[in-house]
Amino acid sequence: MTIVNVENLVKRYSDVVALDHFNLQIEAGEVFGLLGPNGSGKTTAINCMLQLLSFDKGSIELFGQPMAPTRYDLKRRVGVVPQEIAVFDELNVRENIDYFCGLYVDSGAERAKLVDEAIEFVGLQDYVRFRPKKLSGGLKRRLNIACGIAHKPELVFFDEPTVAVDPQSRNSILEGILRLNREGMTVVYTSHYMEEVEQICSRIMIMDHGRSLACGTQDELVRMVSTGEKVEIEVADLSREALGALDSLAFVRRVEYDDKVLKLLCDNGPHNLASVLGLLQERNVAFGRVYSEPPTLNDVFLEITGKELRD
């Protein structure tokens, strides 16, 4: 079942096109990653889906129904964890979670149970009476998450929830998101951290300048690009002639030899490594350790957008 269906979404801020005929389909049960550099339109896309922003063109459907600012029935099924910490400084941890959960759940008894579960889920049991100012950055992020998921939504938007978080808290957050997914929540996860998206997302969309550049599973994305494996070989001595021979191989896109390490960037192909090693043996070039690495999401991103992910 398609949970999110966005078609031809256009959003302009004066002359700047934040979303340019943006399309997105997310199926139930997915952990969907929106990957893009800062300013690529990820947050704008989420805000439009949540009807926090008006848009110039296009359509948005959630749970198979048109989404609108007044579709409170649909909003009730959605949770959001914004990029910034969105809590009240005057309320303590428990009161904050209770407030945001109370926007969705009227029953006090049911809410109390859900709040307890959310506190336990994010591991803030020891801090329930703390006000946000007393919490560390990581704990605040956990509180931010608890406020967004306490009412057990069917669809949760996580907008860069790990920005400025230490590695330990980041792992904890990512594991938590996977757990939520296992419990049945569909997750939309935006980030500009490649490794996070690789770690948790079942499908990924790469976007930049408000456009969807590629979408699929990680394997599908890797297959979409011509970048193949990266080969590194320790070579004590390599003649210019041998280097030229390597460079002339059809599948080699780039070759470098520096500090006794030979680096080759190859196109996709089944026997790249064997061919390279065969050539070195033919020319009696002695070599030591050999490393071969398949293309990463970073390579995909680099090839698609022509640039590194900005931080």
């Binding site: 949540l50 009807q51 609108a68 600012p69 969105a86 926007l103």
Partner: protein, 410 residues
Amino acid sequence: MQVFKTAIKSFFRHPIYLLVYVVWLSCMGLFMGMSVNELPADEYYERPSVAVINRDEGELAQALESFLLEDVDVVELADSERALQDAVMQQRAHYIAIIPEGFTDSFLSTVRAGDESALPSIQTVETSSAAAIVMMDNLANEYLNVARSYALAIPDAGVSEIVERTGKAMGHEADVRVVNIDNGSSFSGGMMLYLKFASYTLLLSIAVCSALILAQFGRDEVRKRNLSSPLSVLSTNLQLGAACLVMMLICWAFVAALGFAVYGGRMEGMSPGAVTGLLGALLCYALFGLAFGFLVGQMTHNELIMNAAANITGLVLSFLGGAWVPLDLVGEPIVTLAKFTPTYYYIEALNSSFEATGAALPAGALANMGVVLLFAMALFAIGLAIGRLRLARMGAWNGSSTRALSRPAA
């Protein structure tokens, strides 16, 4: 009611504002009011210091001396030029009467001879123009006029008889009773000062607290979270409005209750209309404070700026309105400027309310309260416009937009 409860909770989580702006400032106004010198009319009597130098041994002169020295602070003065100069210089006596030698005989003979132009007089020195001193002079003249009347009316009466009759006549006292008329005139001046000062207290406390509540919910991140929830914008705004209103009523009730509790004992003669008018004027000004807080809350979420804006505006408005300095003492340009401030009309409403004699409010008080409310409405409208403008700039749905539904893909 989540928003309402949380807003009220937020309000009470800032006890320092309540203590400083509501309690402390109210107490300050109270102390200022208490510093006003208020003595009940029946307890008031200014005793002048009087000296009489009597150079006549006659019976009339002695009687006049005794009369002048009744109910005054008697100052003993030597009958010398130097002593008189010193007394005047040092203001030891406010009123000095000198009865010349042979005054009694000369007075009676001249009166009975019908030669008014030769009538002897007593010399007087007045070192002050206070009412009590003028009164002393009037009393001395009156005594001699009465004595003259008896001397003319009873030609064969001796000095003793004239003195006795004059003493009796002057001893008559009118039966005076102090009555509080229902026009509020007996009402405490201290309360008036307290209520004027309350313009600052109310504006500051209500504006800062309401701006703070609105800012909590107006922060972009929290606002987005609220907007993405099933709670409607209308419901959120209504709950926020209700919370601000409750907070305003708490501040208003505290300020009013404190004033009436402290000065209530001196309000016996006040009409119900006057009391209603005072409370109404306070309430109108509190609403103005709320509108100002709404405006500030739309413009900034920074606590420091909120405090600065409310403090500076409160001080300026209170000064211009006449809360600190009576407008009679300032120049015409300031008075003209004051008429563009709500505080001016608030204080006018207070003054009009004091004059209420019955259960009904004077029309002047109602009109002035209306002007204060108009100021409040104007600020509220500006605040709304700023809020809308900000949302429009962000490209956000504004809650009442007609573009509520997603459009079909082109």
